[in-house]
Amino acid sequence: MNLPERVKEVQNWLKADLAKVNNTFNSVEEFRLKYVGKKGLIPALFRDFGSLDADLKREVGRNLNILKKEAEEAVGQLRERLMANSSQDEEFDYTLPGMPFNRGNLHPVTKTMNRICDIFREMGFGIEFGPEIETDFNNFQALNFPDNHPARDMQDTFFIEDDILLRTHTSPIQIRTMLKKKPPIRILAPGRVFRNEAINSRSYCVFHQVEGLYVDENVSFAELKMTIEVFTKKFFGKDVQIRFRPSYFPFTEPSAEVDVSCFICGGKGCRLCKHAGWLEIMGCGMVDPNVLEACGIDSERYTGYAFGMGPDRITLLKYGINDIRLLFEGDVRFLKQF
C-alpha cells in the first residue's frame, strides 16, 4: 500500500477508535500511544514521508498534517474529558497501599530515655557516661552507703569480686564526674543498671536509669522542685499534678519521692495507679554533704541536688505494658508498635 492510501486508512482507524475510547486514563493513553506516541502510527507515516517523491509530497504532506492535528486534538479533548470527570475513572485504584518506607524503630525505652535527656538538655544538663562494672567505692561508699548498712538491702547487688560489682544505679557516674570536675556541674547520667532480683512481670535483673546532678553555690531544694516540675509538665503534659513527699536515700538529704497524678484517670483512681491516683516516677533530693566531701567538694560552699528515674517503668506506664519482660524479649510484633 502506498503512503497516501495508508494515510487514509489511518484516518479511518482514528475515527473508528475515537468512538471506542473509554473515559479512563488507561484507555486514553492507549489511544494516544497508538496514534501520536513516539512509536505510534502517525510518527511512522512521517518517517516514511521523507522518502516520498517530491511531486506527491505537497498533497500527502497536507493530509498528513491534518491527520496529525486531528489526532492531537482528539487526544487533547479526551484528556480534558478525563480531567473533567476524573472521578469517573473507575478502573483507577487509589486504594493501593503506598510504598512502605522505614519500617525500623527505636526501642520504646530508648525513646523514653531520649525524651528525658532532651528535656533536661534544654535546661542546660550535659550528658555523662560511666562503666557498668563499678567499684564498691563509686557505687556505695562514696554515696554514703556504709558497710553493713540496711540501705544496701534496697539494692540487691551482683558482685564480680568483693569490692567490684555491677552498678545498681547510675549514681556512680555522679561520683566519677565530681571527682574529675569542679563545680558548677550540671549533668545527666543515663545507662543500664543491674539488680540481683528474680525475673518476673514486674522486675528484671537489668534495667535503665537516668539520673541528674546539679552542684553549685546556693543550689536549693526550691530549685530542685522547679526543675522537676518543669520536667514532669513537659514529659507528662501540662495538666499533670505533681507532689513531693519525704523519703530516704543515703546519698541525698533531704530526700523525696515524686509522684505525678495518674495520666490515665487524672487522679480519680484506676487500675494503672492501683486506685491511688498517683504514680511514683522518681526519687530526688539534696546531695548529702558526705557525698560532696567524698568527692573533695567543700560542702559548706557548695550544695546540690540529684534526681533519678527509671525509663523502663515510665515506658511501661506510658504505653500500658503490663510485663517488663516484653522489653527484653525482642518480639518484632511488640517492637513494631512504637
Partner: protein, 795 residues
C-alpha cells in the same frame, strides 16, 4: 509495718479521717496505705440469732432455721452442716446485694419459702472459707450490721518504712509523728505493777563479754505465771496488724514490740542453767537449733545469748528451741537489750534470717527504751498471766550510747531549702520530736537528738526534719536557675544517638537483650577474650557478662522464629565487657552496635519484589555509616571462622570498625536449630567515633557537561570488582570523575567459569567540554589494560 488507728488513738488524739491520715502520714515520709477492710464491701448483712432448727420436709441435707434479728423473726433454708441453736450468724435478707453481686430474691427451696440466707465467709468476701456458716462471737449484738461490728476494730495502715526510721516501727513512734501535725500530747502508758521481795539477783546475773555487739542488757524474772490463751482484746489487736496469737506471754512481748518498737525476748527460766546470762560471740562452726526448728551453723560474726552452759538465743535475731516458753512454763526471764546494728545485720545476713527483732536492731533500737520496755512487758505479763515480778532489774550498760549535740544554723536551713523558717517554729517542732535544746541564739539552735532517732546525727538531718514537718509539697518552687559555659556538654551522646537513629532508619528494630549470659555466649565469634564472671548470679544461664552482642541477637531471632516471626531486621546497642586485671574494675568495656538480618528485610509490596537479607546489605550499612560519620578509609577483607560461612572484616587503619558475615549454617542448626540463613554484624562505636570527621567541605559543581561510557567485560570468577576499578582508575586519566560498578551477570549464556561485570564511567573536565574522540582514546587504553592484566573480554 502495720499500724491500727484504734491502737494509735490510745497514744494521741487523731482528729483525721482514715483518708486524711493516710495522706498526712505519707507527706511526713511515712508512706501509708489503708488496708482495705473486706467488711466494707459487705452489703446490709445483719447479725441474727438462730432460735430454732427444724428438718426440711423434702430434703435430707437441708434444714429450716428460725432466726431472729431482735425486731423480726423469719425462716431461712440452710444447707450448712454447722448450724446450732443460739449461734450468732450473718443474715442476708431478701433484697440484700452480696459482694459477689448477687441480689437475694424471695425463693422457694424444695417447696419451703426462704426469706434470706445465712452466709459463709466466702459469700461475704471475707475469705475463701466455705466450710460452713460464719459463726460470730456469743456476745455479737443481734440486729446490728455486720459491717459495723467487724470494723469496730479500727482502720489498719501499711506503712512502707524507709530504713532510716526504726522509731516508727511502733505505734508510739507513729503516734509521736502524728503529734507533729496536731500539736496534741503523746500519752505513754504508765507502769503499775509491784515487785515482790525476792531480789532478782538471786535468780540471774548478766555478763557481757562482747560489749561492742551488746552495749546494754537488762533482765527481769517473773515467777509463777500461768501460760494460757490471750484475752480477746489482745487477739483482736494482734489480728489487726497481721499477727497470730500464740499464748499470753508471747503475745504480751509482741504487743510491747509493736507498741514501743523495742524487741524483747522471754525465756523459760527452768531451762537457764547456772542462774547466768552470758552475751558472747559464737564460735566458728558452733551449731544451734532456733525456735523455728532449724539447725544453724554459726560463725564468730553471730552474737549469742548463753546461760552458764549453753546458748539460749541468737542475740537480736531469734531465740533457741531449748528455752522457749511452753504451756507449762511458770517462771520466765525477760531480756531487754540494745544490740549493735552492724553486728545484728552481719549475723542476720549470714544466717539469711530476718525477724521483727533483727529488723529493728539492725536499723537502730532505742538504747534508752530498754528499761521502760522491760517494765511494760512485766506489767502486762502480770496482768495477763499472773505471777510476781522479782525485785529489781539487772541492767548492764558497759558502753553508753551517747546522743550527739547538733547545731542548726538558720542561714544554712535557708540556703539548703530555699525558704526561711521562723526560729520559734523550728524550736517548737524540735521539742516535739523529742530533742533537748541546749543552746539558742539569733543565728542557730543547738539540740541533743532523742535516743530513738539514730538517724539524727548532723545539721543536714535536722534540716530534713524541718522540711518534712513543714511539708515538702508546700515549699515554693524557685523561679529561675543559672547558666554557665560548662553546662550542656553532651560528649559522644549526640553522635551515638545519631548512629542509633540512622540504623533504625535502615528499617531495623532496636532490641534490648540481657547483659548477663551463659558461658557459651561468651565463646562465640572472632574474639578471644576472658569474660567477666558474676560471683552471685541468678542462675548459671546468667553468670557472665556478654563479650559480644551477637549471641543475644541469635537468641532473640530464635525466640521470634518460634513465634512465626520470620522476617527479622534487628539491631542492638550495648556494652560488652572483657576481664582485664589492669583496670580499676578489672574489666574493660566497649560500646558495640550489632545487627541481625534474616528472612525478608522489606514488607511484601505490590510495587516491587522485596529483598531478602544478605551480606551486601550489611556491607551497604557499613558503607553508609562510614559516609555519614566522615570515615574515609575503610578497608575490607575476607576471613575464615568456624561460626561463619562468610565473614568480612571492615577496618579503619588496621583497627577493627566492624565485622559482618553469614552465620555458619551448621552452627545455626546445631546450636540454635535455626534453618533460615542469618546475617550478623558487630561494630565498635568508640572506634567509629574516634575516626569520625565532621569537617565536610563543599566541592564546586561542574560547569561543563560530562561524557558517560559503559564498559562490560567478561572475566574469570576470581577477578574482584575492586581490581577492575583500580585498573580503570589508573588508566582513566585526569578527566575520569567516577567509576560505578552496577551489574553482575553469571552463568546463563556465558561460560560457567566466567562472570560479566558492567561499569559506568563518567569523564568530565573542569574548564571545557570534552570531545568524544578524547574519551574514545582513553577507553581504548582501558580496554587494553583490562585485557592484558585480567584477561578480560569485552562484551
Amino acid at each position: 509495718m502495720i499500724v491500727n488507728t484504734k491502737w494509735l488513738k490510745q497514744y494521741t488524739e487523731i482528729p483525721f479521717s482514715p483518708e486524711e491520715l493516710e495522706e498526712k502520714l505519707t507527706f511526713l515520709g511515712l508512706e501509708a496505705t489503708i488496708i482495705k477492710n473486706p467488711a466494707d464491701k459487705i452489703g446490709d448483712v445483719i447479725i441474727s440469732e438462730i432460735k430454732e432448727i427444724t428438718p426440711h420436709p423434702n430434703a435430707d441435707r437441708l434444714r429450716i432455721c428460725r432466726v431472729s434479728t431482735g425486731t423480726d423473726e423469719m425462716d431461712v433454708v440452710c444447707g450448712a452442716p454447722n448450724v446450732k441453736v443460739g449461734q450468732k450468724v450473718p443474715l442476708a435478707k431478701v433484697g440484700t446485694t452480696l459482694p459477689g453481686g448477687i441480689t437475694l430474691k424471695p425463693i422457694k427451696i424444695r417447696g419451703v419459702e426462704s426469706r434470706g440466707m445465712l452466709c459463709a465467709e466466702d459469700e461475704l468476701g471475707l475469705s475463701d472459707n466455705h466450710e460452713g456458716i460464719m459463726v460470730l462471737d456469743e456476745n455479737a449484738p443481734v440486729g446490728t450490721e455486720l459491717r459495723d461490728y467487724l470494723s469496730a476494730n479500727g482502720v489498719s495502715f501499711d506503712i512502707d518504712l524507709t530504713s532510716n526510721r526504726p522509731d516508727c516501727a511502733s505505734h508510739i513512734g507513729v503516734a509521736r509523728d502524728i503529734t507533729l501535725l496536731t500539736g496534741k500530747d503523746l500519752r505513754i502508758p504508765e507502769i503499775e505493777f509491784t515487785e515482790s521481795d525476792e531480789p532478782v539477783r538471786n535468780y540471774v546475773d548478766v555478763e557481757i563479754v562482747n560489749t561492742t555487739g551488746c552495749p546494754r542488757y537488762a533482765a527481769r524474772v517473773i515467777c509463777g505465771v500461768k501460760v494460757g490463751p490471750s484475752p480477746e482484746w489482745l487477739v483482736k489487736f494482734l489480728t489487726s496488724v497481721g499477727l497470730r496469737s500464740i499464748n499470753n506471754v508471747v503475745d504480751a512481748a509482741n504487743f510491747v514490740l509493736l507498741e514501743t518498737g523495742h524487741p524483747l525476748h522471754t525465756f523459760d527460766y527452768r531451762m537457764i542453767d547456772g542462774k547466768k546470762i552470758v552475751v558472747r560471740s559464737a564460735f566458728d562452726g558452733e551449731e544451734v537449733e532456733t525456735l523455728d526448728g532449724v539447725r544453724r551453723e554459726l560463725t564468730k560474726d553471730v552474737l549469742l545469748i548463753c546461760d552458764a552452759k549453753k546458748p539460749v538465743a541468737i542475740a537480736g535475731i531469734m531465740g533457741l528451741a531449748n528455752s522457749e516458753i511452753k504451756d507449762d512454763t511458770t517462771d520466765i526471764l525477760i531480756e531487754s537489750a540494745y544490740f549493735d546494728p552492724a553486728t545484728i545485720r552481719k549475723g542476720s545476713k549470714y544466717l539469711g534470717l530476718q525477724t521483727d527483732a533483727s529488723y529493728r536492731f539492725e536499723r537502730g533500737a532505742d538504747p534508752e527504751a530498754v528499761i521502760y520496755a522491760i517494765n511494760r512487758l512485766s506489767d502486762l505479763v502480770v496482768r495477763l498471766a499472773g505471777g510476781s515480778v522479782c525485785q529489781g532489774v539487772i541492767d548492764r550498760y558497759p558502753r553508753k550510747i551517747v546522743q550527739p549535740e547538733i547545731t542548726v544554723r538558720f542561714k544554712r536551713v535557708n540556703s539548703i531549702l530555699g525558704i526561711a523558717f521562723e526560729p520559734n517554729w523550728v524550736a517548737e517542732k524540735f521539742i516535739r520530736l523529742g530533742c533537748v535544746i541546749t543552746n539558742r541564739d539569733d543565728e542557730s539552735i543547738t539540740i541533743i537528738a532523742p535516743s530513738w532517732r539514730p538517724d539524727l546525727e548532723r545539721e543536714i538531718d535536722m534540716i530534713e526534719e524541718i522540711v518534712r514537718i513543714y511539708g515538702m509539697h508546700i515549699v515554693p518552687n524557685a523561679k529561675s536557675m543559672g547558666i554557665h559555659p560548662d553546662f550542656g556538654a553532651a560528649g559522644d551522646y549526640e553522635l551515638i544517638e545519631k548512629l542509633r537513629t540512622r540504623i533504625a532508619n535502615y528499617g531495623l528494630y532496636e532490641v534490648y537483650n540481657n547483659s548477663l549470659v551463659n558461658k557459651e555466649f561468651t565463646e562465640f565469634g572472632i574474639q578471644n577474650f576472658v569474660p567477666v564472671k558474676v560471683k552471685n548470679p541468678l542462675s548459671q544461664d546468667m553468670a557472665y557478662l556478654r563479650t559480644t552482642l551477637i549471641p543475644g541477637l541469635l537468641q532473640t531471632a530464635k525466640r521470634n522464629l518460634n513465634r512465626q516471626n520470620t522476617d527479622l531486621p534487628l539491631f542492638e546497642f550495648g556494652f560488652v565487657q572483657h576481664y582485664n586485671p589492669e583496670s580499676e574494675t578489672h574489666a574493660q568495656e566497649f560500646q558495640k552496635f550489632a545487627i541481625l538480618l534474616s528472612g525478608y528485610i522489606e514488607d511484601k509490596y505490590w510495587g516491587y519484589e522485596r529483598r531478602k537479607a544478605d551480606l551486601f546489605i550489611l556491607k551497604g550499612i557499613i558503607q553508609d555509616i562510614a559516609t555519614q560519620f566522615g570515615v574515609r578509609e575503610v578497608s575490607y577483607k575476607s576471613e575464615q571462622h568456624p561460626h561463619f560461612d562468610r565473614l568480612i572484616m571492615a577496618d579503619i587503619n588496621e583497627t577493627q570498625l566492624a565485622y559482618f558475615g553469614q552465620v555458619s549454617q551448621n552452627y545455626l542448626l546445631k546450636k540454635w536449630s535455626i534453618e533460615n540463613p542469618v546475617f550478623v554484624l558487630e561494630g565498635d562505636i568508640s572506634n567509629l567515633l574516634q575516626n569520625t570527621k565532621t569537617d565536610k567541605q563543599y566541592k564546586e559543581l561542574p560547569v561543563f557537561p560530562g561524557i558517560q561510557r559503559d564498559i562490560s567485560i567478561l572475566v574469570d570468577l576470581k577477578v574482584k570488582v575492586a581490581d577492575v576499578e583500580k585498573l580503570v582508575c589508573n588508566k582513566g586519566g585526569v578527566y575520569l570523575r567516577e567509576v560505578k560498578f552496577y551489574d553482575l551477570y553469571q552463568r546463563k549464556n556465558i561460560d560457567k567459569r566466567k562472570k560479566s561485570l558492567t561499569f559506568n564511567l563518567v569523564f568530565q573536565a573542569a574548564d571545557r567540554t570534552l570531545q568524544d574522540a578524547e574519551v574514545d582514546d582513553i577507553m581504548v587504553t582501558i580496554h587494553k589494560i583490562l585485557e592484558d592484566e585480567l584477561g578480560a573480554r569485552l562484551r
